[in-house]
Amino acid sequence: SSSEQGQNSEGKKLVVGATMLSMQNEFIVNVADEMEKKANESNVELIVVDAERSPLKQVEQVESFIAQKVDAIILNPCEVEASSPAVTKAMAAKIPIINVNSATSAKPTAFVGSDDVESGRIAMKYIAEKLGGKGNVVMMHGLMGQAAQIQREQGAQEILKQYPNMKLLAHQTAGWDRAKGMALMENWIQSYGNQINAVFAQNDEMGMGAVKALTDAGLKNKVIVVSIDAIPDALQAVKKGTLDATVFQNAQQQGSKAIETAIRIAKGESYEKETLIPFQLVTKENLAKFLN
């Protein structure tokens, strides 16, 4: 019955600790909110902490969870490698650890999420198809060296390689930030003017900045802009037609599935070792599905 859902074998309320990549990132906040909701429903105590994009902080937070002897840990990794010690330490302490959203090189008890490389592929593929496999692209990176930046770039580059007539004119970081994305796009417009056919921004924030700069310069109709995350702003922009496409990651599913898995493991029930939640391309055509 639901009243005993969140209890461990000794009948005490289950405690789950979660460390999130960054609570300043809208997508991650959405995942965390879903987890919170699900935890409330299941009568589980959820402790959410913010790693502020620092893998060191994340490792320390997991250490702290271990010291507190939580029943399960949910890890939303900052980094593939650098967050791995967190996994190793939890495993060594025999506390189940579930990776949500993205992977670490060390193998956790279970994984719920998707592969960021795939999102880069989806976005760039859309651009390539729109341009008919020919044209000039610019790419906006997130903060250099971060897992999401590396993987999204990797996916995009894979696709670019398949289209020899597509040229990467320039690529530069705008640090995941809308204002910086806007400034960068403004400067690119100065350098390349009409040569740019498409923009791939590694997240919606930068994408929205690029859209703003292009609109101001009166170039939006000539340039395709695609980004990743499908935040509400981006969906609105897709609706208006200013943003051509974004890539949707299912925050709701990632959040609730993560908690579900954690509870199952903690209670010693059977669970999925890997729950893959696919990315989906969002364009004007299928937009309705994502607006709620």
Partner: protein, 337 residues
């Protein structure tokens, strides 16, 4: 306690007869400190114009100015603070808080555009006044106080916005950062207006004079009947107000209130002020210098993008050019001394 300032040897008193000519010469050269960095700035502009024809176009220069506006507004505020011998690290967070607050009142068909403007500014002024209050009451170093309020402000912005960008702002509001008047982008107009206001305030008013006095020698200022606490309250509040304005311009420019906007802006603003000749020990600095400092940073950043320098190298080059410009300026000044 003996006053410690008395032990810090200042420049030797000069002989009256001998140096009058020399002094006025030196004084004139001293004034050139701003001039020196202006030369560095012009040199960089010339180099950029030679390397890339895209640099020296009206449209590109307009963009540079627009991009510079936010940093310049912040730098004006922090120039006041640094002139009095203080520092403000919380300006980046103030940009976020004020932007979020303004955005909360800027949805279409809710309030007239004056309301988000007022609320944003007011938030900035209050935040700044809070800084000033803690600094003057507690006598704790402004570095640590504003480091604390920087963290607090960031948290506040996240709490107010629940960690999500606030979008869907009215067109009137978005005009502030995105509109144009007579073909001139609004941020540039705001920049020019506030440059003039701040310059006048600093150079032509009693308050401005008191700022120099407090930063130049706090004890002597006090003994001249100046209330140190009042002057400090005013500069931190002003700095907050200008950060509020910058927050509004930024929010309006990107048409979203961003709780994580402005991170690191404090360092750029302080850099602009120092590059422009404001001494961190207080008592010197001008708004013109600060404006040139902000322009220097803006032009370099624009130029590196135009030249498509890889982002890794951009950072290295940016660092080298900034240090280089200031080093050249300081050598130049020392040689003339």
């Amino acid at each position: 306690m003996p006053n410690l300032c008395s032990m810090i040897p200042t420049q030797k008193p000069k002989s009256t007869y001998l140096n009058q000519v020399g002094e006025s010469y030196k004084t004139r050269l001293r004034g050139l400190s701003t001039y020196g960095i202006l030369l560095a700035f012009i040199a960089i502009c010339i180099v950029l114009a030679l390397i890339t024809p895209r640099f020296l176009t009206i449209s590109n220069l307009t963009i540079v100015l627009t991009q510079v506006s936010i940093n310049a507004l912040l730098a004006f505020g922090v120039t006041f603070v640094i002139i009095t011998g203080g520092i403000d690290l919380s300006i980046g967070s103030m940009v976020a808080v004020t932007g979020v607050v303004a955005a909360m009142f800027a949805h279409p068909d809710t309030y007239p555009v004056g309301v988000p403007l007022l609320m944003g500014l007011l938030t900035g002024l209050l935040f700044g006044a809070f800084n000033g209050l803690v600094i003057t009451r507690s006598k704790v170093h402004p570095f640590i106080v504003t480091l604390g309020t920087m963290t607090m402000g960031r948290g506040l912005a996240l709490i107010l916005s629940k960690g999500r960008p606030i979008s869907n702002l009215s067109d009137e509001f978005n005009f502030i950062g995105g509109g144009q008047v007579l073909g001139i982008p609004m941020p540039i107009i705001i920049l020019i207006v506030f440059f003039i206001i701040c310059s006048v305030l600093l150079q032509k008013t009693v308050l401005g004079r008191y700022m120099y006095a407090v930063g130049g020698n706090e004890q002597a200022a006090r003994a001249s009947g100046i209330s140190l606490n009042k002057v400090k309250m005013v500069v931190y509040t002003l700095c907050g107000g200008l950060a509020g304005l910058a927050g509004i311009v930024l929010t309006s420019r990107i048409t979203t209130g961003q709780p994580n906007a402005g991170a690191g802006f404090e360092l750029d603003a302080i850099a602009a002020a120092i590059i422009g000749g404001t001494s961190t020990s207080g008592g010197t600095g001008t708004m013109t210098g600060t404006l040139i400092g902000a322009l220097l940073i803006g032009v370099i950043s624009n130029g590196l993008d135009l030249l498509n320098v890889t982002s890794y190298y951009q950072q290295v080059v940016m660092g080298i050019i900034i240090i280089g410009a200031v080093v050249l300026d300081s050598w130049n000044q020392n040689r003339n001394k």
